[in-house]
């Protein structure tokens, strides 16, 4: 489905480079404190904390969700999320709700960033509700369209210790059926923009076949007006491109700023037939990119696709950034997108392979 359905009524330019985020956002410190108290954790000084009940935590999560959704709107984003305030981590959150997973403790991802990588110890089954309540709350709060990021079946199968299934593909297919169930529930609740997060995709050579099959299951029987994005990051894209163009998705959301666009060539060798949601901000550097710098990054996207196919987004979830930096990066990103749109309208930017306009 095209991105035009998400164009705000008061959009100032003819061109529309939809601005959005990948999903996660720094949690307010008070939310983390309430969560620690609810889960009876010790603080860094190992002082026993006074506990709070689940109801208090739920209220804090609602408050945080409302706050960050509005913070996204204040930054000027066209499509918003709630910053995943209710989610601990992109695999953990789902594994906690799916039967068949067990947790043994945190493992390293990089530097001092850890996640509670679960083990699959029996057949996976749909357990507690995943995201419908999160979506309904955010959509109710938001004045802009809401996107829901959901961790994809391949990543839920790959970023775990598989103690039970014969192959990763077997596990991914079972999980894809569960994700499909959730996506259908989200669509029934009114959601029209769903982003499947598959950061594990660029990790293993040849596994794009597994992902392709799993995605077919995920999107089975969805209405036409639902936009499906696929987020991929921190991998060798030459391993998966152009094969991924066969996937049943509308948009590919790619990390590219971290590597200073060294991999951009991968996508120009073969026509990029889907929409490109391009990473124009580094999610792992606290220094805020200037509007000019971001505009230059956006223009790199125009070397791959015409403006009609371009979406503007950070590289990845920004939850590890200081909150002020995260906000300023988004605000600069929106301003940069609006300025590039105006320059496009004025014919000041040459667009490679521009599609004919709807008026032609």
């Amino acid at each position: 489905m095209t991105k035009e359905q998400f164009r705000p009524e008061d959009h100032p330019n003819d061109q529309f480079l939809l601005t959005t985020v990948v999903g996660s956002y720094p949690k307010p410190k008070w939310l983390n404190r309430v969560r620690e108290r609810c889960h009876h954790q010790e603080d860094v000084d190992q002082v026993e904390l006074e506990t709070v009940d689940e109801e208090t935590l739920a209220e804090a999560e609602d408050d945080a969700s409302r706050l960050i959704t509005k913070e996204h709107e204040r930054a000027g984003l066209d499509v918003v999320v709630d910053g995943e305030m209710r989610r601990t981590e992109m695999v953990e959150y789902f594994a906690e709700r799916i039967e068949g997973y067990e947790f043994n403790g945190p493992v390293k991802v990089w530097g001092h960033n850890y996640f509670d990588k679960p083990s699959v110890v029996s057949e996976v089954e749909y357990g507690e509700q995943w995201l419908v309540e999160e979506y309904e709350f955010t959509a109710d709060v938001a004045d802009r369209p809401v996107k829901v990021p959901i961790t994809g079946p391949y990543t839920l199968a790959r970023w775990v210790f598989n103690e039970h299934y014969e192959t990763t593909a077997d596990l991914a297919n079972d999980l894809a059926d569960l994700v499909n169930e959730e996506v259908e529930k989200l669509v029934d609740a009114g959601c029209r923009y769903i982003q499947i997060d598959e950061p594990a995709l660029a990790q293993h050579e040849d596994d794009h076949a597994i992902v392709g099959e799993a995605l077919e299951r995920v999107v089975a029987d969805l209405p036409e007006d639902v936009r499906i994005g696929l987020h991929v990051c921190y991998g060798d894209y030459s391993r998966i491109y152009p094969e991924i163009l066969e996937f049943p998705v509308d948009e590919f959301d790619l990390e590219l700023a971290n590597g200073d666009y060294e991999q951009l060539d991968v996508f120009t060798e073969h026509e990029f037939t889907a929409d490109l949601a391009m990473g124009v901000l580094d999610a792992h550097v606290a220094e805020v990119e200037s509007v000019e710098e971001i505009k230059a990054n956006i223009k790199k996207g125009l070397e791959v696709v015409p403006p009609e196919q371009l979406v503007v987004s950070p590289d990845c979830g920004v939850k590890l950034l200081p909150r002020e930096a995260a906000y300023q990066k988004m605000a600069n990103m929106v301003q940069a997108a609006r300025e590039v749109e105006a320059e496009l309208d004025a014919g000041e930017i040459e667009v490679r392979g521009a599609a004919p306009s709807a008026d032609d």
């Binding site: 990588k117 594990a200 990790q203 590890l320």
Partner: protein, 335 residues
């Protein structure tokens, strides 16, 4: 009779309390990772954590203990990440894992930093009071070169040579260790082509001859191509490694077809899965390898994990150490 020696390839998970403490002290971004200039507070946490994992190995009964490399934020790229003449840039994927390290870019003539030697000195102070021998772990030169980007030496082969010399200088600064394992995942995952395979072996040779310790080379994440394996046997090393977890058939084929070193190192427990192998399973895997290579009469078999161990949560990590130690507790097995 073959001596069975239990050990591990290092790169341990940080104890959970140290994960929490260091998160607060160091931060979450690229520039917060270890670069060799950490202050007293951070150093104190690592010292305490090092003592803890050394005690854990000694208590488990491992024959050869390792320092644990808890400071290696950039995993096997660490020796370059803390060296002068190296810039660390964007984060890049660590093989096919959900793990990342900062890309080290070599911009000038490499010189040893003594960083790993200092870690081993500290470990030796702990182990000297115990019966356990101390082993060192380093990336092999081909792997370290493959993990890095070269802006100084030009040709890939020249860069591999330079990294080999750099590692040899690091090794020359080591305190006395009983054994040195060179981990070589890139020899498997990014196999060197014709000509470069020979240079990779020569670079290993340069590192091995810099120490009096027994030297093992452990390929990781699969089996070596035959050509690469054959060249590796030309290096002056005491033991070559076989990953019997991820690809036992291809590994044993190399040993059957080309023979092996007098000592061998066997990856017997899975460093990337929480399913804990029993000591019986570990012993069966040793026996299977011996049965499959009946012509060989190994002097020593190192019983170890097939990969670095930071992938595991600390509870399963501890259980795997104990399983390896228990499996090797009967110190001699029938040839």
């Amino acid at each position: 009779m073959t001596e069975l020696v239990s050990t591990t390839p290092g790169l341990f998970p940080l104890p959970d309390w140290a994960k929490r403490d260091l998160e607060g002290l160091k931060g979450h971004q690229k520039h917060d990772l270890i670069d060799g200039s950490e202050g007293a507070e951070i150093t104190a946490v690592y010292e305490q954590a090092r003592e803890e994992v050394l005690s854990q190995q000694i208590d488990a009964g491992l024959d050869l203990v390792v320092e644990g490399q808890l400071r290696w934020d950039d995993m096997l790229a660490h020796p370059l990440a803390v060296a002068d003449a190296v810039d660390t840039r964007g984060i890049v994927r660590y093989y096919d894992n959900n793990n990342f390290y900062r890309e080290p870019v070599v911009t000038d003539e490499l010189q040893a930093s003594g960083d790993v030697a200092a870690e081993l000195e500290a470990a030796a102070e702990v182990t000297c009071d115990h019966d356990a021998g101390l082993a060192a772990v380093l990336p092999g030169p081909y792997t370290l070169a493959d993990l890095a980007t070269d802006e100084q030496y030009g040709e890939t082969a020249a860069f591999v040579d330079a990294v080999g010399e750099f590692l040899a200088e690091e090794v020359a600064q080591f305190p006395d260790v009983e054994q040195l394992t060179l981990l070589e995942p890139s020899l498997v995952q990014a196999a060197p082509g014709d000509g470069l395979d020979e240079r990779a072996s020569e670079a290993i040779d340069a590192v091995a001859t810099a120490t009096d310790a027994e030297v093992a080379v452990q390929p990781v994440y699969g089996a070596l191509e035959e050509r690469v394996y054959a060249h590796l046997l030309d290096a002056d090393i005491d033991a070559v490694g076989f990953d019997l977890v991820s690809d036992h058939d291809a590994n044993v084929y190399n040993a059957q077809e080309y023979g092996a070193t007098d000592d061998v190192l066997l990856g017997l427990v899975d460093g990337r899965n929480t399913l804990v192998e029993s000591p019986e399973t570990i012993r069966e895997r040793v026996e299977w390898f011996q049965e499959q290579t009946p012509a060989a009469d190994y002097v020593r078999i190192y019983a170890t994990a097939n990969t670095d161990l930071f992938f595991l949560p600390t509870n399963r990590f501890g259980e795997k150490l104990e399983a390896l130690a228990t499996a090797a507790a009967t110190t001699e097995v029938e040839a």
